[in-house]
């Protein structure tokens, strides 16, 4: 960056370089940050595979680590800072699933540990599990019927 550029001038410069439409800008940011989170996942997954885990085991272990990372970064108030810019880039990865659990849990801790914290953990994660699990059971039943016929 050139010397002598004031903060305002710099902001103007950045604005000029950014794509005009907020949708395009948001989508690019979501793409980059979501992509980076997946690279982290790939690094973790490769580590577990390198230690002799099967693909399924490594996948499960990676999910656990990514959930821990997402939860920890939420607790440290870092994840929401990234999410302000990344939008879906931080919502869609499994780290965002962890974020959706920790955020309301912290928020409602003051209302008690049962109906406050523990129940509010699932405000968003609950519906995800409900629809995901129902869909998987339906798929399983259909495949059973198809095999039996």
């Amino acid at each position: 960056m050139e010397q002598g550029l004031t903060k305002k001038e710099y902001e103007k410069y950045v604005q000029k370089k950014m794509p005009k439409s907020p949708v395009i800008k948001n989508t690019i940011k979501a793409f980059i940050i979501g992509g980076i989170i997946c690279i982290v996942g790939q690094v973790v997954s490769n580590y577990f595979k390198g230690r002799g885990m099967s693909v399924e085991e490594a996948g499960g272990a990676t999910a656990i680590v990514m959930v821990l990372l997402g939860a920890l970064l939420t607790g440290l108030d870092i994840y929401d800072g990234i999410a302000k810019h990344a939008g879906a880039g931080t919502i869609v990865p499994i780290t965002g699933f962890a974020n959706s659990i920790v955020s309301p849990a912290m928020e409602f801790k003051s209302e008690g540990y049962v109906l406050g914290m523990a129940s509010k953990m699932f405000v968003i994660a609950g519906p995800v599990l409900v629809y995901g699990i129902i869909a998987s059971i339906v798929v399983g039943i259909i495949s059973f019927i198809v095999k039996t016929l």
Binding site: A30, F31, G75, I94
Partner: protein, 117 residues
Amino acid sequence: MEFIRAFLVGGSICAVGQILIDKTKLTPARILVLFVTLGVVLTAIGVYEPLVKFGGAGATVPITGFGYSLAKGALKEVKEKGLLGAFMGGISSTAGGIAAAIFFGYLIALIFSPKEK
């Protein structure tokens, strides 16, 4: 190379989510529900598996990958256990992630408090 593929596939899935958030009235919670269900359906019709083969963590880390694991587990256990597998397979194959989300989610929320806004 596999890192670039993970970046491209994972980034693209998130980009689709962002377009939906910006262009429709779908809230993030609905996006998550939609994506996990989509992951299950796309796996069932055999579309998601090739994406996982190509993109690795790029396809498994997004919440659609959670749906992929659910469906894959259900399909696999139906083969082994019959109808019982339809009920057991999904949660078995995602047990680690679900348990971790509950355990670490609780623990972290216990330790940390929300910052003053």
